[in-house]
């Protein structure tokens, strides 16, 4: 019964979404307040309906109701509760429902927090959100309905794909979708602005928090997915340039560009047309990602099912929305007035360069991802574009961007002083080079490029602080006064510094792991030892164990340094009973930010086993950096400037006098 209520709620949601997609637009044209008022209330009810529907499916999973086909296909009564629940989105139908849930969540949030938006803009934005909602609700109901019953009901389910039975996967999709789908708000704002043919700095001020929130969640989601792949797949890699990874990475790159261009628009009213275009591109890439991942054109852990009608349906959604938005853009954009003139060397100029590099590298990733698909469709020839391609192109393109990142915040708006900015960075750049050279000396040589890479990371980390240092005027003013000024800086300044610093930490981790990781593949018998990264591992033997829905062979290793035991680790090979599917559970031990990674191979005839041991220096920096970026995002989001319409706090004249003019 509950499942049927969920199904019905989804159908109702479709009806409401249809109303919200039409009535407010008509209202906005005729200036009819009653019709426009349908948008916010409708969006909130819509969210309620989809939530109800999602909860109904969750309930079916929680109680293992195998009469629902979706539950039967992807769950098992013996699975731990957390995986039963995360199983809701561990399959095609459920994950699309989650997609829809988050889409309507964002509409509801716009309805709730958008009280101070002009009525027509709010009505149009929510209507555009509803168009997307209609498309995806139809998609779910027509091609991917999770509420279909089975008769007779099977006694036992088929289990969730074992590699998805992992706490990381329980949070990865929701986070990723919060980012991915969050960009729909930027898209809706862009389309609404185009419909109205009017756009100004206030528009950018409304869009920026949404972009920032989506970007922050997407950062978290991608980092989570990368960490999951690292420890769960047992290959020790953290990024494979797999098309599905690229699918989430491209909106991130474009979203990063959007974040920066919206800043220019908000402060200087420049780059209006470009920002609107970028907002459309970003969400188009999200839709493209959904298509690549969900349509089954790519074979991967994400392609749960390959049903051609689904692919065609999503492709249709993609073409309608992307094509429609671009057509609208081509028609309306010339009417948007551009403003704000600036010199090439200025904060705006730096942000334009940032946008240029980010969009070109997005295009590079897009080319590498789609080229094999296009080539196969056109000529039938099958090729693979792998990591070497992306490392070469994307890696090289990123270097100039990383070099200018600390300079941007130091340049003034309108007309900047490049020499002055560089002078402020000389010390930091010099320091970074010295540290890099010092490491080179300590490590007794090695690839010079790697040490330059490390220096680049350090330069980014220290460089991110330079802006704060000079704005607070440390070194010129007494420490206590400078510290008071530092505290008075807007939170967005800290957000910027943190995000840029996080980028530096990630770069540091990537360079360290790429250049200095060591890998040993060896046959081990009980009692044998192996050395890796200055640690010694002793293989203590194998043991069998039984989990709730799997059996495993576990190998135990004792890790010692200079003869003293410091840690021990289990590494195992599991067989999941229901699907008879083997998985490798790597054993991972952290030492500071570095890790030892032990994974098991095949048993040998003579009783030994193949063991693969990696030493991963500073690998945790990669994800630590993402966490810092994320914190930067949240700090920036809490800035008063972005809390549109929040009552302004008691003014502090003294502070305003001290704050440097921007």
């Amino acid at each position: 019964m509950i499942v049927e209520i969920g199904h019905y709620a989804l159908v109702l949601a479709l009806a409401i979404a249809l109303i919200v997609s039409i009535a407010p637009v008509v209202g906005a044209r005729r200036n009819d307040a009653a019709l426009m008022a349908l948008a916010p209330s409708g969006s909130i009810i819509l969210f309620g309906m989809v939530t109800l529907s999602f909860l109904a499916l969750t309930w079916a999973y929680a109680v293992s109701d195998f009469s629902v086909r979706n539950v039967w296909e992807n769950s098992h009564s013996l699975m731990p509760m957390i995986y039963k629940l995360s199983g809701v989105w561990g399959n095609h139908e459920g994950s699309m429902l989650l997609w829809l849930l988050i889409l309507t969540l964002f509409s509801a949030l716009v309805a709730l927090f958008g009280r101070n938006l002009p009525d027509t803009l709010r009505a149009n934005v929510l209507a555009v959100q509803a168009w997307v909602t209609v498309a995806f609700t139809l998609f779910i109901l027509l091609t991917s309905n999770p509420f279909i019953r089975l008769n007779p009901a099977p006694a036992e389910g088929q289990d969730l794909n074992p590699v998805l039975q992992d706490p990381g996967l329980a949070v990865h999709p929701p986070l990723l979708y919060l980012g991915y789908v969050g960009f729909s708000v930027c898209f809706s704002f862009a389309v609404a602005a185009l419909i109205e043919g009017r756009i100004d700095a206030a528009w950018a001020r409304w869009v920026r928090p949404w972009t920032l929130a989506a970007w922050t969640f997407l950062t978290a989601g991608i980092a989570m997915g990368s960490y999951w792949a690292y420890y769960e797949l047992g290959w020790g890699g953290w990024w494979f340039w797999d098309p599905v990874e690229n699918a989430s990475f491209m909106p991130w790159l474009a979203g990063t560009a959007l974040l920066h261009s919206a800043l220019v628009m908000e402060k200087r009213e420049a780059l209006k047309i470009w920002t609107v275009l970028l907002a459309i591109i970003t969400f188009s890439l999200s839709l493209l990602g959904t298509f690549l991942v969900r349509s089954g054109v790519l074979t991967s852990v994400h392609a749960f099912a390959t049903d051609p009608t689904r692919g065609t349906f999503i492709l249709a959604i993609l073409s309608i929305f992307v094509g429609g938005a671009f057509a609208l853009f081509a028609w309306r954009a010339p009417q948007l007035k551009s403003g704000g003139i600036f010199a090439p060397i200025s904060r705006e100029g730096a942000l334009v360069l940032n946008n240029l590099i980010l969009t070109v590298s997005t295009a590079t990733v897009l080319t590498g991802t789609l080229y094999p698909l296009v080539l196969e469709t056109l000529t039938g020839e099958k090729i693979s574009v792998g990591a070497p391609f992306f490392n070469l192109t994307f890696g090289l393109l990123m270097i100039p961007l990383l070099l200018i990142v600390p300079m941007g915040p130091l340049l003034a708006w309108k007309r900047g002083d490049l020499l002055g900015a560089m002078q402020r960075l000389y010390l930091v750049a010099g320091l970074a080079l010295v540290v890099g050279l010092g490491l080179y000396y300590v490590e007794n040589g090695g690839p010079v490029l790697a040490f330059l890479g490390l220096a680049l990371g350090i330069y980014l980390i220290l460089g991110s602080l330079v802006d704060l240092w000079y704005r607070a005027n440390f070194g010129k003013l007494a420490f206590s006064i400078a510290f008071a000024r530092l505290k008075g800086l807007p939170r967005s300044a800290f957000g910027t510094a943190l995000a840029h610093m996080g980028l530096g930490v990630t770069v540091l981790g990537i360079v360290a792991v790429t250049a200095f990781e060591t890998e040993h593949v060896l046959e081990m018998k009980q009692g044998m030892t192996a050395d890796a990264g200055g640690y010694t591992l002793v293989f203590d033997g194998m043991k069998e164990a039984v989990g709730p829905n799997f059996t495993e062979e576990r190998a135990h290793f004792t890790i010692s340094k200079a003869g003293v035991a410091v840690a021990d680790v289990w590494s195992s090979k599991r067989i999941y009973t229901a699907r008879r599917m083997p998985t490798t559970e790597a054993g991972i031990v952290s030492f500071g930010l570095s890790q030892l990674y032990v994974s098991l191979g095949d048993p040998m005839a003579d009783g030994g086993i193949v063991v693969r041991i990696w030493w991963k220096p500073f690998i945790l920096c990669i994800w630590l950096g993402s966490v810092i970026m994320m914190i930067g995002g949240f700090v920036s989001l809490s800035d008063r400037r972005l809390r549109v319409g929040a009552p302004s706090r008691r003014t502090k004249p003294a502070k305003i006098a001290l704050e440097p003019a921007e």
């Binding site: 590498g368 099958k382 574009v385 070497p388 393109l397 599917m581």
Partner: protein
């Protein structure tokens, strides 16, 4: 410089960056793209030693031989021809005789294929798409290969 000249300089700068990116992409494509082959393709036209390719097919039954250390050799077949492959490292969990695989590597001589990666990933039903397409086209595909023991499931998920 006048403002117009400045603007031209900026546009030229942007264009040249894009041009560099395009050239880089073309260069990278020429360097690192691996074409996909099945054993019978290789029988028809030879691939020169040292060229990176992807070789796909089924792991021939009874051909897996474990050598010294973690070196494994096996044959990849598509029913009409087979190619011996050697690989050092840990094979993926789902590597089995009779299963579909995609290996990537180079021919060191005209006969010996040395793979540096072997893919057979993620799902027990997983058949690399390239392999499945070709096996179907060549008529070697058997329903049972795509949907093993669990019965009804195979037909539902595919």
């Amino acid at each position: 410089m006048t403002r117009k000249q400045k603007r031209m300089a900026v546009i030229a700068g942007g264009m040249s960056f894009i041009l560099i990116a395009v050239l880089l992409v073309m260069f990278a494509f020429s360097q690192s793209v691996a074409y996909f082959f099945m054993p019978s393709d290789l029988a028809k036209n030879e691939v020169s030693p040292g060229t990176r390719i992807r070789l796909g097919g089924l792991v021939e039954a009874g051909s897996v031989v474990r050598g010294a250390g973690s070196t494994v050799s096996f044959k990849v077949t598509d029913g009409s021809a087979s190619v011996p492959v050697s690989y050092t490292g840990i094979l993926p969990d789902l590597f089995r005789e009779g299963q579909g695989v995609v290996t990537e590597g180079v021919f060191t001589t005209s006969q010996a294929f040395v793979a540096d990666s072997v893919l057979a990933k993620h799902d027990e039903n997983y058949m690399p798409k390239e392999v499945a397409d070709r096996l179907k086209a060549d008529g070697v595909w058997k329903e049972s290969e795509g949907s093993p023991t669990t019965g009804a499931k195979g037909s539902v998920t595919r």
